[in-house]
């Protein structure tokens, strides 16, 4: 019975294996391009290197082309459906204040959430403290959100 249950579970998750592979690729890209380096983030905010601007800029430019094809329906999803990019939540205060708070943390940690997980794989034990802080921050936001301007 247990054997069958485990096999059913693996079968159920098989369709999700592609996301594990995409994650591995993402981790390698961000490692090899040094995006996970604290120094690269510092350098960016000091305007002393084009590297990070080039990475984000070229991702956004190529992303615009991809989304054009998605939004026009020229590229459909793997099951032939229209690909819908969920709109972001509107509200000036949420975006500017949330953005500023995030930016303070990004420049201090030298890492946004993706690189935090990647650094964990790199064997940087202390990044676990930062990630734990991230969980505290996430929980705090949801506890306090009714009192915040959005």
């Amino acid at each position: 019975m247990v054997y069958i249950a485990i096999n059913l579970l693996i079968l159920k998750e098989m369709k999700n294996i592609k996301f594990l592979i995409l994650g591995i690729l993402f981790g390698i890209i961000l490692s090899k391009a040094e995006i996970i380096s604290w120094y690269r983030i510092y350098e960016m905010f000091k305007f002393q290197s084009f590297h990070m601007y080039g990475v984000i800029g070229s991702a956004v430019l190529t992303g615009m082309i991809v989304f054009y094809f998605f939004n026009k329906g020229l590229i459909k999803s793997y099951i032939g459906e229209q690909i819908i990019i969920a709109p972001k939540k509107k509200g000036f205060y949420r975006n500017i204040f949330g953005g500023i708070i995030f930016g303070l943390g990004w420049a201090l940690a030298g890492a946004c959430p993706g690189p935090m997980f990647i650094l964990l794989g790199r064997g940087v034990a202390t990044i676990a403290i930062v990630l734990f802080g991230g969980l505290i921050g996430t929980t705090l936001y949801h506890m306090l959100k009714s009192k915040l301007p959005h």
């Binding site: 999700n16 690909i83 420049a107 794989g121 929980t139």
Partner: protein
């Protein structure tokens, strides 16, 4: 094949990030890393603190597998695809950091002055790590996205909220880098 072992240029990394994003949308999902923090909170029992976390986290298994992949990717890149793990910084950056007391900036990916175990075991070092994480977690949920969801997906899709958020990211980042880091180091 040697180029794989060298640091990758921005014009390689940027389009490849878009390729990953393309496949996530193609497979009917989205590209957003910080929402995994919510999922992990839900698994960890944060539902006791906020009803928000009482959602069925199993629907986000695909995204947890994605971040599990990033952890594996970080391991693979470090162990097998990197020969020289130094970062070729602008000499001015190295000098600026030396003035703050950061030694050998760029010799590794991360400064020991923040990420070494010895630093973590000091009160100041621990507070820096945990506060940095709290700011990132709180800010990304308040703004509704981080670098992936806002700076890349949002800007690519001409979203005004994302433009405002990214401007916020830079205001916060510039304040930290130019004014707060010199105060704490």
């Amino acid at each position: 094949m040697n180029f794989i072992f060298e640091p990758w240029a921005w014009y390689v990394a940027g389009p490849m990030i878009t390729l990953v994003m393309f496949f996530l949308f193609y497979f009917g999902k989205k590209f957003g890393v910080s929402s995994n923090l919510e999922t992990l909170c839900a698994i960890g029992g944060a539902g006791k603190l906020s009803d928000f976390f009482n959602f069925d986290w199993r629907k986000n298994t695909w995204n947890l597998l994605f971040i599990l992949g990033t952890i594996i990717g970080g391991f693979v890149a470090f162990q097998f695809l990197t020969i020289d793990a130094s970062v070729d910084l602008n000499p001015q950056t190295v000098q600026d950091l030396a003035d703050l007391g950061f030694q050998n900036a760029g010799a590794q990916y991360l400064p020991n002055e923040i990420f070494s175990i010895d630093t973590m075991l000091t009160l100041k070092g621990f507070v820096i790590l945990i506060v940095a994480g709290i700011l990132v977690g709180f800010g990304s949920r308040y703004a509704g996205g981080c670098t992936s969801g806002h700076a890349i997906v949002g800007l690519s899709n001409f979203e005004l909220p994302s433009l405002i958020s990214v401007i916020g990211f830079f205001i916060g980042g510039l304040i930290m880098t130019w004014f707060i880091l010199p105060l704490i180091f």
